[in-house]
Symmetry: none
């Protein structure tokens, strides 16, 4: 068995998501397992960590059992042995660095949002096509076990005609005064690229498009419920970005989607993210890992009678799906597909155009919130 | 102890709600308990059932242990011993009958929607004021134990500042072919006054106004998910009315409400109606009878890590409120207050103006759905 | 990153508390983690163990992975590279050794009680101030997770107005004949500085002062329930010290505290130490690590009816607080704060004056027990 | 089998305790069971209800299935067929009525407190002895199943030497604004004979004297934690009586008792009243109906180590006592003994002297609270 090495520049993996999901749970396990199997070949990434803070880079490399890191992105981009550029920086820095990488002829794989405007996101796509490099965008939620089970149900026709989708995402992110916040403070500052609409609607776009049908229109109300928070150093700061978004969407086929995203909600549901799908033949509720179904024949027939305690246990009437497959980490699963795309020319449809669609939906949602009306989401093509 | 009798015309109590909630669970128990205690007096209703179908009337009277019924509304209205008119007919018939009753100098108490347009609903209010009769509108959900518990939490300041309210109402109403439908077929025909927006937004108005703050604006998408159903006789008919409504509302104080109403949803939640309230100091989820709370200090601190089964049980972290009071049937509770209002001159704020506000919100929601934009809900006064 | 070393004399760490809590669970882990982070510096203690028994010292050093120990306290105190003196000897020996250390210009950190009388304890405080050295006293219970959770509840205003605190401390300490005793025999001999009042009221003072309000007066009944015990060598001895204390205290703000301390009680409660706090808006019960709450709205409404098994489960109506933070060993947490105080000049309010307050309360409690009346606890200042 | 009827004047059974415990759960069941078996005879009470409000009397009689009631106490007392006078009026009215009944030659049985001062209580005892009538005082808690089980343990020597008793009585009595109060408002007004010390220390006296040993001295702090409440008509009133009492007592034999009584405590324990008894050979915790034990051999050996979750489940190590006997209602049990005393000359030691001892302890407790010192409780004899 031969080994095909891929020199990989990893930029921005000292942050929470970059370090945990991409470095420690994707690339390191791929290296430890000897590479991604691809026919007779194993595709082995050889990462060079890039960042701005040498102390953090050294620590990240040590934690990953790696030795190579640098603060000099330009020299990394000029090294011909490094063929792939990965970017997990904060959103505001992404487009410029990806543009440079494309210009240097690197293939690119990057986190979402790919840019802060759909115009900029489309330019990245156009640049990559023009330069002829391969490109991909992280769309990890598609590989969550709960959503994979949902996708299987759709594919099998379990739902009959799908009527509606209800999504609840979020949890209580502490303000940071008495209890430390679970998320970085820049998420709550608009001026630093924060905001839940920009963060989450990039996800919603690919989830909805891939599972249920193309998004056609959106109505959204973005809110900033908590306007003072405490940062990593314990200092109060004004929270200027939206921290909750109440959305309604229309998909192809007349499916209506109601989607709440919030960092100020206490969770009384199956998981941090739940999607309920109702169809003529049955319904399902998916969390991050599990999925429960209620087919037509198992649907109870409640009658409105609030005089008495309801005789139906509305949780017991659902069946939890068994594990018919084993599921890898969602980020790692997509990394493996991208590395195969790089080496084997396998198709990979989660590219910079798809990434731009995510930014487009976030933009449309914010526009809807400002103008207090529905906003259409037209088909997106190369500029 | 003296007894004060109230001659009561009950129109439309052969239907489901009228018979069950108003006749059998409100008026009959009040008669059996000897009347409504009011200082040294017992207020005793003496009902005369009125309707269009003598067979149904006779059956309803017999089921209630009563003997008096008639199909002649006009002669009932001309009887000076009958001082109170109650209306639970279908919506399309209500305004005309209530208007006649007011003209005859009767006090009126009636179901919602009071009319099919807010203009007409306001005319009823103006007519009652002009004629000097007392008036009330059924707003039963305010006396549901679950919502009373929620109201107590608001009053005690449990939530701190309320940020948002999420409401889910509905269940799967069977189409009627294989499984009999749980609701009358006219509910699904626009031409007969059906539709979930007209039905439910009258409720949402008084629930939101009374519990959280005045409704200021609404965005709503009404849908007809199932367009063919089978009626009481087993015959298929086109379902022309909206059967689901996806609403977002703004209240005074910046509270945002997200409210789904649907007869095509399978229930995986605590009850047929659930309201989740999130505030800076705590959250609550109320069903029809029960209520669960999670104060700030008991709020878990989840971290996003979909790699592993979530270590937090998101249902266990809520505490079910104990029964600190005993609760009567919600309809009966409001009937008793109205009868005391009639005899004792106690204030009663759930009147025809409040009823008109419900119709106003339903109207605004339908207008929003048509125009695909937010619609303001101005303060309502006498025309 | 630079390292700032602190030469540390540890006297009395061959005993149970000194060895386990201070040496093995505080200083050794601090050394293993590379020191206490303090900006760009790591504060690294370099301990020299001091004691009277060379065999025990050698064993303690070996267990800790250390090499330096001596039985010559005076020469240790004369070494200028050792800047900090720590004392965990038995109470009777403490004041003299601490006084010597202060005279030698060492900073001091020591266990409680700091002395056997408040006059002596205040002299230590005065001497330290005069000599200009830094000083601290162990008040470990403030960093117990259960009490930290309680302190957060107080800070958030969870209780409304606090009415009362009930404390139960203790467990069955075996007499030592058939089952070996869990505590050293000197604890049960007055002539050796034993007694539960002197031991525990030093703790109660800082716990009450810091969590709920300044102690103003105390009523206490000290008892010796078991007057014969068996020592470490299996020999019977007369137990002359108090082994149980029944106390009532008044705090600023009218809060009443009822506190039992006993080594002759069998435990049917949540933990070895439990504090129940009742306030107008809610109550909490804290153990060493966990804390349960019952807010007003979740307070059951029991009715006295001993005819029938009580329908309320009085344990189920409480909610266990989730882990919103991670907690280090309580002793280690305070050690780290003291080391930062030493190097960074950060304030540290748990000093020899606070230590003297603990001795003052123990003294007042014993005086109350002798005179069978309430004893006031005046504000304490430098002598 | 012959029947011996006892004409019984019941005064004050329209109140909560009188109606529920004495009329409906004691006298009515005794009548329904045909009387109290006493050798060949059945002792059958024939009650005449006496009170001040004819409406309430009529309702109480009807609820009990009785027909005889009067508002004229004097004529009842002059009826020779009525030989027994029972009093459950509010405390302020009791002594005068009992004195009249004794003067009329009636045997007397009455609720506690028998009077508002021990001097007055002793006069009742002296008057009854002088007039030669039989007398008894309700001491119901002695017949609670939980306390009967405790008494059996004492009798069997289970505890070895008893060292201490811890008592917790109370629960949250709602203020009456949002949640209706569970107790009558006069309990919270000193001017109406209210107060928890007067109410509960009468109970504590006979419980302690009978179960563990004679009370020798008391230290008590009485408090009024909540000073505004809402009465039965929903009107706010100042709560002037003590609503919590923190007591410590010394019994014969050196037993120390710590006793909290409170109407402002939330319950996290086995029952509304719990008594924990610790002895050299074992401990027990009794609630109203159940009792748990932990003998010496089953006593765990906890070690103080708050670093880690405690490995011992402190509730699991206790054994719940099985039901070895069946237990009747506590009030009814004592009624039956008193009726047998009346007819069969059986001894009955719970008499007016015992009742006076209860008032004596309440008085001493209040005196201790005022003078802030221990108060002796001397032996009580006839004046």
């Amino acid at each position: 068995m031969s080994t095909h090495t891929v020199g990989l520049i990893m930029n921005g993996v000292t942050g929470r998501m970059g370090a945990n999901q991409h470095l420690l749970r994707s690339i390191v396990p791929i290296i430890r397992q000897g590479g991604v199997p691809a026919g007779d070949t194993l595709i082995l990434p050889e990462p060079l960590l890039v960042g701005r803070n040498s102390g953090k880079l050294e620590a990240a490399a040590r934690a990953a059992g790696l030795t190579r890191w640098t603060t000099d992105l330009d020299s990394a981009l000029s090294d011909p042995k490094l063929s792939l550029y990965f970017d997990a920086q904060t959103t505001l820095l992404r487009a410029e660095a990806v543009t440079k990488a494309i210009a240097a002829g690197k293939h690119v794989y990057c986190e979402k949002p790919t840019a802060v405007s759909s115009a900029q996101a489309l330019q990245l796509y156009a640049a990559a096509r023009k330069r002829g490099v391969k490109h991909g965008v992280v769309q990890d939620k598609l590989w969550l076990p709960g959503l994979l089970k949902l996708a299987d149900l759709v594919r099998r026709g379990f739902f009959g005609r799908i009527l509606s989708v209800r999504g609840e995402f979020g949890y209580w992110v502490f303000e940071g005064d008495l209890v430390p916040a679970q998320r970085p403070s820049w998420n709550y500052r608009r001026e630093d690229g924060g905001g839940i609409v920009l963060d989450m609607f990039c996800h919603w776009r690919y989830v909805l498009d891939n599972l249920f049908g193309r998004v056609k229109a959106v109505s959204c109300l973005a809110a900033t419920h908590i306007d003072e928070r405490w940062d990593e150093a314990g200092r109060p700061y004004p929270a200027t970005a939206d921290d909750a978004a109440y959305g309604t969407l229309e998909l192809e086929g007349g499916i209506i989607v109601q989607l709440n995203s919030s960092w100020e909600v206490r969770v009384r549901r199956d998981d941090l993210l739940t999607l309920q799908v109702d169809g003529t033949q049955g319904s399902a509720v998916a969390g991050l890992r599990d999925c429960w179904i209620q087919p037509y024949s198992a649907t109870p027939r409640p009658v409105w009678n609030p005089d008495q305690p309801n005789p139906i246990d509305f949780f017991a009437g659902w069946q939890k799906l068994p594990e018919q497959k084993s599921y890898d980490n969602a980020f790692k699963a997509q990394w493996e597909l991208f590395l195969r795309h790089l080496v084997l020319e396998e198709p990979f449809r989660w590219d910079l155009l798809e990434g731009a669609k995510g930014v487009q939906l976030a933009e449309a949602a914010l526009e809807s919130s400002r103008s207090r009306r529905w906003v259409q989401v037209p088909e997106l093509g190369a500029p």
